[in-house]
């Protein structure tokens, strides 16, 4: 039996205000996870996810034309892998949409094939002033 630890990570649990300091150890032999310091089962699940595949909900903006403000706030419909956040941000930085846009409408479907949509979080109607300014520019 090999007791060597392959990988270890300290996780502060954010599920409740207890903020348990949890340690997750992955054993070299068989890759079994040993979790210590959690106060409850939810903490164990959280720490396991944080160790194996941490996910976050991404919320940012994309450019919008024809609305009274230049940015449309968006978010991922479900949490996405943490290590993909930068790739999604890079993709969204190159996107521009056209007003009107409705809160909840899809901006990017199945972003990077991750199973999450990027959805608008604000309703932005066509702004008459912005429209005039846009036509003048053209």
């Amino acid at each position: 039996m090999n007791d060597a630890v392959k990988k270890q990570k300290d996780v502060i649990c954010i599920i409740c205000p207890n903020s348990c300091a949890i340690t997750v150890k992955q054993m070299a032999d068989g890759g079994k996870l040993i979790i210590e310091g959690q106060g409850c089962n939810r903490g164990e699940t959280y720490a396991t996810d944080e160790f194996l595949a941490p996910k976050r909900t991404l919320a940012t903006t994309v450019r919008i034309r024809g609305a009274f403000i230049p940015l449309l706030p968006v978010r991922s419909s479900v949490p996405v892998p943490k290590e993909k956040l930068n790739d999604i941000l890079d993709l969204l930085a190159r996107i521009e949409v056209q007003a009107p846009f409705k809160c909840g409408a899809v901006v990017v479907q199945n972003v990077l094939g991750l199973g999450a949509d990027i959805i608008a979080t604000r309703t932005l109607p066509v702004d008459s002033c912005a429209k005039v300014a846009c036509e003048l520019k053209q």
């Binding site: 205000p17 903020s19 940012t60 230049p70 706030p73 604000r122």
Partner: protein, 440 residues
């Protein structure tokens, strides 16, 4: 001058104003929201991060989404909204004078809900010495620039204050390609939620310097750097602990102040927290004027704002339809005071001779508070003279989280009106097994 009338006028169309309006409308009143911005939603529109509405909608929404839910309800109910309209004056007779592009408007209301929210504490308020170069912003201003207006205030940042807005901005700026050198907090603990420290700072390796503060802003035209230093328990700088950060921007996330300029004009008495003094009906010392949301007390969660504002909306609707609610000026109103370990407590006074029918309609008296510093294993107790009227065990209490208590129906029976009602903390005795079992 344009003149108009309404049953319930609501000053401010942020989360508090929206929730109050929806409830007052449900109660059958004619409702009008007066909002100075060009749209509804208030600060929620720039809080594009998720985490709103877990209690209210059982979903994790972004700020603008949360606002949209209420805006939809408002539109469905056809509630009148005056946008781009700045309230200049409120009188005790509940006349509201406001100004917009059409000129001066006078609104005669039967009841008013104050829902103006708060504003950020600035550099002047915290007395950072030195030049006044470009590049010093409040965190909320930077948030508006980045999330709504579409430009970045700088490239390398130091953030003073570990409030939630400051920490959320640290992540937001990082995502937009900026470098956040440090978050600096004068207190020995983070002042925002642990969740935000973990997901906004730790995730990106942004260092948090506790018990530190900014001692110097470098640069004459533009910020060129920030010097921070450690402070002792009296917030005095410890010489020799200075650290310099090369940066072009300093963000301040150092607290919020309720915005009560117009409240003062109506003759409303403010408490030490700068919010109006209210009783358990959220009624101020001016009958028929109610307060809720961040203008009353700075909340931690928007769900708590909505909950409080709904109560204010219902009270205002009752008042507008002729129900006379107990006054904070009446002799049965007993002061509620903050005792050991409590930063502040609301309501400021509790009416103790409340008509049975009214009391049961309103439900239990809600007491909200914040503790002065993080504590564990505590009893929150309430006493009147020597008589204990409330006791609850709490494993953790944090200044970043508002605690809300509910007094049992008969808790106020037999109150001694000559004695204040005091809320205080009492450490749990080391081996108090029986009570622990009872309260957990």
């Amino acid at each position: 001058m344009k003149q108009t009338e309404t049953d319930v006028a609501i000053i401010g169309g942020g989360p508090a104003g929206l929730a109050a309006a929806v409830e007052a409308d449900k109660a059958g009143c004619k409702v009008m929201i007066i909002e100075r911005d060009d749209g509804l939603g208030g600060i929620l529109q720039q809080c594009i991060h998720p985490g709103f509405g877990l209690h209210e909608f059982k979903e994790e929404l972004a700020g603008p989404e949360y606002a949209q839910r209420y805006i939809d309800m408002l539109e469905k109910a056809k509630i009148e909204v005056m946008l781009g309209t700045m309230v200049l004056d409120i009188t005790p007779k509940k006349e509201i004078f406001a100004i917009n592009e059409q000129g001066v408007v006078k609104v005669q209301a039967k009841a008013i809900v104050l829902a103006m929210g708060c504003r950020e504490r600035t550099r002047g308020a915290i007395k950072i010495p030195g030049y006044r170069p470009t590049g010093v912003y409040t965190a909320g201003t930077a948030q508006r620039f980045v999330n709504i207006e579409g430009f970045m205030p700088g490239t390398r940042y130091v953030i003073l204050g570990s409030g939630d807005i400051g920490m959320i901005m640290a992540r937001r700026l990082t995502w937009e390609g900026a470098k956040v050198e440090a978050v600096v907090e004068i207190m020995p603990y983070p002042s925002g939620l642990v969740r935000n420290k973990v997901q906004c700072l730790d995730d990106y390796g942004i260092p948090l310097y506790l018990s530190h503060t900014v001692v110097r802003v470098h640069g004459k035209d533009r910020v060129t750097g920030i010097t921070i230093a450690r402070v002792d328990e009296n917030w005095k700088m410890v010489p020799g602990t200075e650290m310099f950060f090369n940066c072009d921007t300093l963000l301040l996330s150092v607290g919020l102040i309720p915005e009560n300029e117009v409240s003062k004009k109506a003759g409303i008495k403010l408490a030490k927290t700068n919010g109006p003094e209210v009783n358990q009906f959220l009624q101020t010392n001016v009958d028929g004027i109610f307060a809720s949301g961040n203008v009353l007390q700075v909340h931690d969660l928007v769900d708590n704002v909505a909950m409080e504002a709904k109560r204010a909306g219902i009270m205002a609707a009752m008042y507008a339809t002729g129900v006379r609610l107990p006054s904070i000026n009446a002799t049965d109103a007993v002061p509620l005071v903050a005792g050991n370990g409590i930063g502040y407590v609301l309501p400021n006074k509790i009416n103790t001779n409340v008509d049975q029918a009214l009391a049961s309609m309103i439900g239990p008296v809600k007491v909200s508070l914040r503790v002065k510093k993080p504590v564990d294993e505590m009893y929150v107790k309430i006493k009147n003279g020597t008589n204990e009227i409330y006791k609850k065990y709490s494993k953790h209490l944090r200044p970043s989280e508002m605690a809300i208590l509910e007094l049992a129906k008969d808790a106020l029976k037999g109150i001694d009106k000559t004695q204040p009602i005091e809320v205080y903390l009492e450490p749990k005795p080391a081996k108090d097994v029986t009570t622990e079992a009872k309260h957990e």
